[in-house]
């Protein structure tokens, strides 16, 4: 599998570290339901069979976290962007 890193170009997936589903976002730790929200954030996953936004870290390359849209049935990658900012750089 090759991941088209927006900075480095397409690289073998072994240059990257995988975190998983990009959908969960860190809840507000001061909210009254924080315990339940964190449980969901840390542990519960949609685990879709199909396209999924996921976080990969280009650990052996530019050290950027990427949001990769990938189909878990075919491994086909349809979109890649820097995670977090959505923009091209710092």
């Amino acid at each position: 599998m090759r991941i088209p890193c927006p900075y480095c170009g397409a690289r073998s997936s072994h240059e990257f570290a995988y975190l998983g589903d990009a959908a969960p976002t860190r809840p507000d730790p001061s909210a009254p339901d924080a315990a339940e929200a964190f449980h969901s954030y840390v542990y519960e996953r949609d685990n879709p069979a199909g396209p999924m936004d996921e976080l990969w870290y280009h650990s052996a390359g530019c050290r950027r976290w990427l949001k990769v849209t990938r189909d878990t049935r075919t491994h086909a990658i349809t979109a890649v962007a820097f995670a977090g900012t959505g923009e091209g750089g710092r």
Binding site: A10, R26, A35, L55, W65, T74, H75, T85
Partner: protein, 985 residues
């Protein structure tokens, strides 16, 4: 000898000697082991897996199921090597396998006498009585009888490499379609790789008498090869098997660099793994000759008709003194006639069809070959084939032949098209599976796609080669395809001759038509169940010669037809791949990088004993002459440090440079304690959690300037923590203005510890005030040492003694160590290793990797009081879950053996004294132990249920795996200087 008089692509001017089962033979360059054996009249080449039946070669390619040999000897022995793919070299040694005492007389061939018992699934129904006999008696016997060849006796002496290649168009296979595709793509300027499994380009063209562009097929191959070689954008890769298609248009291939030689050339590998990244791929892998299942079809001498022809035409080898062909299709008949023209004595063609096309009939007549139409071979005889029985509507007759070529038609070689989940589809018009969904970027040309006529293969190859190049962005000029005369492609679907006697579907695994029927009878009808129940298709040919027939037989039995019965899915590898080549350079000492510290060579010169710490090599201890064991050395090192001064290289810690206005905010969020309030010039110990509330790492972080901090991590977690910080900055809080840089490699860091450490340090600093006032505990100084070497000095202590960590640019690490040694000589400065470091931290009750094992929370480790309640931090919320506050949770305490002479061992579990040794009574375990030279007995740290409430209690340390079972006393984890006074002096 059955070497034909002339012809073949062998160099008859040179003779090669080789040995098979200790007997000497000769062959020629261009031969394979199989062709040379046949040319020497050797037909018996192996024994089958289960019944140990005599077997001969059945193919001329990598799909060979029978002619498996142990090639070479000793450490280079290669079991299960297909004689059909071994290029002959001078001095080659091969031996048959899976037989005893000899290939000719194999005692285990008695298995076939009990074959009425040994049907498919036989094992599952038996060997159960009595229960104990399976493992003691039956299984060992089965294991010894099973298996094929023997593994080598010693580590592989050869080397391997792994390489990556990129191309616009990868062409797999160099037959007519592949060559045409490579030419079309190559002429466009696209980067082309042409991979060919064989040692010669040409594929079937090397074995057939076709006319292309008015000349011979061989001339066409030569011209194409010459042209492709001349193109700088084309890479020809013979002896290269593409074994797998992977995601992202990556293909795995093995180049056999030195397998055709007695040993690889100096400085060259035996094989090279290629990862080929191809924008487009044209698969032109040809087709397999389809066997027909008939009684006696496994006798040596019976083989594929195309193989029979190949041996005659390409290798000038007769498969027997005379031969017949049993066919269902024009292609096989034509190939057989080619063989006859090449000099093979072909007595008869037995075809299942009512008539042959006129042209073929006329050729047969001209060559004096008898044609028996509507014929089926129903029996064979001889240990190696001596005769066959042919049945026609007109009666039966027996023909005396030594070789029988069999062809049931063509099965497209679509293996690679399935590797990404594509399923083949059935084409009724050619009675074959052809590629269905193919991997992205792949196109299939020629026989692999079910296109069989030569002219069509050339045209399709040209077309797909050009379109692959144009898809990759190159303008392919529309050159005409090479032209060939039409070749007849008539056939009749025919899989199975009804008759008495064992008819083999999978020759290597001895699966017969009867076994398929039995599987059907017992309900194992799904193709995958059939395969697993009978082992059909699980031999080393991966079903290439057996799956299709097995499927056809099952379809006959279910009456559902072949497409509804299904197909098996092909997975990588296409052909078996040596494990050595998949590992490449990474074996032995080069399995993983060995990282030396900046003082490694110095430590080596001091006689240090090293230990692997992750990838690092660290000094474990520094033995001195006369010391009887490591413990004596370590005790000396600890004592010297506690009483005077010691030094250790701690460069392996992760070091991260953090700059920017928001560093303090970031650190407050990743550590449980506060860092934004840390004064410039100060360091603080911090603990960070994972978001699930468990401890991730610890270390000290210092503030060098208002917006500049440097963090240390544990050696093990350096990369993980850096990644975590980047996650925080890029994903969680992208608004924070913090810049990270790893400085782990930049700085050498040496800890100098002990009551005399200040005096030692004082001698090497360039005018820095290192007094207790000038550089207090947890203070940080920046300046220089050794007359101008930039340095950072941290007053930290892992040992509990007065201590400093001095960081200098890495190139000065060894010099710093030497300077410290010189400066400390008057005080008896002693280098110590990670063993002594471990002893001292256990004496102090500091946690380390054994406690920070990912299963402990801050409270378990007695660190909960560090947690700030004034802020949020990663892991805070989840650390509030009920289980984390359970007072019964094992918590860190210290332990002493009640018998002070006893040795404690980490890994012992704690039980209440008198309690039964059960999981329910398990109260925790010992995490770390050491002999404390300071106290004169062993000490330990451990996690004990309600530990801190149980000071002074005696508990049982249960260690049955090392024969240990003793009472230990619970105590504070801080064995020495619990108030931490020594480090503050």
């Amino acid at each position: 000898m059955t070497r034909l008089v002339d012809g073949g692509l062998i160099d008859r001017s040179r003779t090669l000697s080789f040995a098979f089962d200790g007997k000497s033979f000769t062959g020629h360059p261009g031969d394979t082991l199989a062709s040379a054996l046949l040319a020497n009249g050797v037909r018996l080449m192996g024994r089958s897996f289960k019944y140990h039946r005599p077997r001969g070669v059945v193919t001329a390619g990598s799909e060979e199921p029978n002619a498996l040999v142990e090639l070479r000897t000793g450490a280079r022995r290669e079991p299960n090597t297909r004689a059909t793919t071994v290029e002959l070299y001078d001095g080659l040694e091969a031996a048959s396998q899976n037989r005893w005492p000899s290939l000719d007389v194999d005692v285990l061939s008695v298995n076939r006498l009990v074959s009425p018992f040994l049907g498919a699934g036989f094992y599952y129904k038996t060997f159960m009585w009595p229960a104990a006999f399976w493992e003691k008696l039956y299984e060992p016997v089965i294991r010894r009888a099973a298996g094929l060849g023997r593994a080598p006796d010693a580590p592989d002496p050869d080397t391997y490499e792994k390489a990556t290649a990129f191309c616009d168009v990868l062409v797999i296979g160099s037959g007519a379609a592949g060559l045409a595709a490579a030419q079309a793509a190559g002429r466009s300027g696209a980067r082309v790789i042409l991979a060919e499994e064989d040692f010669r380009l040409g594929g079937r063209l090397l074995s057939e008498r076709a006319v292309i562009d008015g000349g011979s097929a061989l001339d066409f191959v030569a011209r194409a090869e010459a042209e492709l070689s001349s193109l700088p954008n084309v890479r020809l890769m013979p002896r290269t098997t593409v074994f797998g298609a992977y995601d992202g248009s990556e293909y795995g291939a093995v180049e056999r660099v030195g397998d055709h030689l007695p040993a690889p050339l100096p400085f060259q590998p035996r094989q090279r793994l290629w990862r080929i990244v191809a924008k487009r791929c044209v698969l032109a892998a040809g087709a397999f000759d389809r066997p027909i299942v008939f009684p006696g079809n496994d006798r040596p001498g019976v083989m594929s008709a195309l193989a029979l022809a190949t041996y005659a035409t390409r290798y000038g080898a007769g498969a027997g003194a005379n031969a017949a062909v049993f066919s269902t299709n024009d292609h096989a008949v034509a190939a057989a006639l080619d063989a006859a023209e090449a000099g093979l004595k072909l007595d008869a063609i037995i075809d299942v069809r009512p008539a042959l096309p006129d042209a073929l009939a006329a050729r047969a007549k001209a060559l004096g070959v008898r044609v028996i139409t509507e014929g089926e071979v129903v029996a064979t005889s001889g240990k190696c084939l001596t005769s066959i029985t042919v049945r026609t509507p007109r009666g039966s007759e027996t023909l005396t032949v030594e070789a029988l070529g069999v062809s049931g038609g063509a099965t497209p070689n679509l293996n690679l098209t399935c590797h990404l989940g594509g399923k083949p589809v059935w084409r009724e018009d050619i009675a074959a599976f052809v590629p269905g969904a193919v991997p992205p970027g792949m196109a299939v040309a020629g026989a692999a796609a079910g296109t069989f006529a030569l002219a069509d293969c050339l045209a399709e190859g040209t077309r797909l080669g050009a379109s692959a190049a144009s898809d990759a962005g190159f303008a392919a000029s529309p050159a005409p395809a090479p032209q060939a005369e039409g070749s007849p492609t008539g056939f009749k679907p025919f899989f199975h001759v009804q008759g008495k006697g064992s008819a083999f579907v999978d020759q290597q695994n001895d699966v017969t038509a009867k076994d398929v029927a039995l599987a059907h009878r017992e309900g194992f009808r799904a193709v995958e169940l059939l395969k697993r129940y009978t082992t059909l298709g699980m031999a080393t040919d991966q079903g290439k010669t057996s799956n299709m027939a097995g499927l056809a037989l099952m379809a006959e039995l279910t009456g559902k037809g072949i497409p509804a019965t299904g197909t098996t899915v092909f997975r990588p590898p296409y052909t078996p791949v040596a494990l050595g080549v998949l590992a490449g350079h990474h074996r032995g000492i080069d399995f993983k990088p060995a990282r030396p510290t900046p003082t490694h060579e110095w430590a080596l010169a001091q006689g240090a004993v090293f230990v692997e710490t992750g990838l690092w090599m660290r000094a474990a201890y520094f033995p001195k002459p006369g010391e009887k064991d490591w413990l004596e050395s370590v005790n000396r090192e600890v004592k010297a440090t506690r009483e005077a001064v010691g030094v250790i290289d701690v460069s392996t810690f992760g070091k991260i440079d953090l700059q920017g206005p928001d560093v303090g905010v970031l650190l407050d969020r990743v550590y449980i304690n506060m860092f934004s309030t840390l004064a410039v010039g100060k360091a603080r110990y911090g603990v960070m959690l994972r978001e699930d509330g468990l401890v991730m790492d610890d270390g000290t972080t210092a503030r060098l300037a208002d917006d500049h901090y440097v963090m240390t991590t544990t050696t093990a977690n350096a990369a993980k923590v850096y990644q975590h910080l980047e996650f925080c900055l890029q994903v969680l809080w992208p608004e924070l203005d913090v810049c990270l840089a790893s400085v782990s490699e930049q700085w050498a860091q040496i800890a100098v510890s002990g009551p005399r450490s200040r005096e030692v340090l004082g001698k090497i600093v360039d005018g820095l005030d290192v007094s207790n006032a000038g550089l207090p505990f947890m203070g940080v100084a920046q300046g220089s040492v050794m007359g101008g070497v930039e340095a950072r000095i941290f007053r930290l202590s892992f040992s509990g003694e007065l201590g400093y960590e001095i960081a200098v640019p890495a190139r000065h690490g060894a010099a710093l160590m030497q300077a410290l040694m010189a400066a400390g000589a008057p005080f008896g400065i002693t280098p110590y290793g990670v063993e002594a470091l471990g002893v001292m931290r256990i004496e102090k009750g500091h946690v380390s990797g054994s406690e920070l094992n990912g299963q402990t929370c801050a409270r378990d480790l007695g660190l909960a009081k560090m947690a700030s309640t004034k802020k949020d931090y990663i892991g805070r919320v989840m650390a509030g879950r009920p289980a984390f506050a359970d007072p019964d949770r094992p918590t860190l305490v210290g332990f002493k053996p009640v018998d002070r002479a006893a040795r404690l061992r980490a890994g012992a579990h704690f039980l209440k004294v008198g309690a039964a040794a059960t999981t329910q009574n398990d109260e925790g375990y010992m995490t770390s132990t050491a002999f404390s030279p300071t106290l004169g007995h062993f000490i330990g740290l451990g996690l004990l249920k309600r530990g801190p409430e149980r000071m002074g209690e005696k508990v049982r340390a249960y260690d049955p795996v090392r024969g240990g079972d003793m009472e230990v006393e619970v105590c504070s984890p801080a064995f020495i200087d619990p108030q931490g006074e020594k480090q503050r002096v």
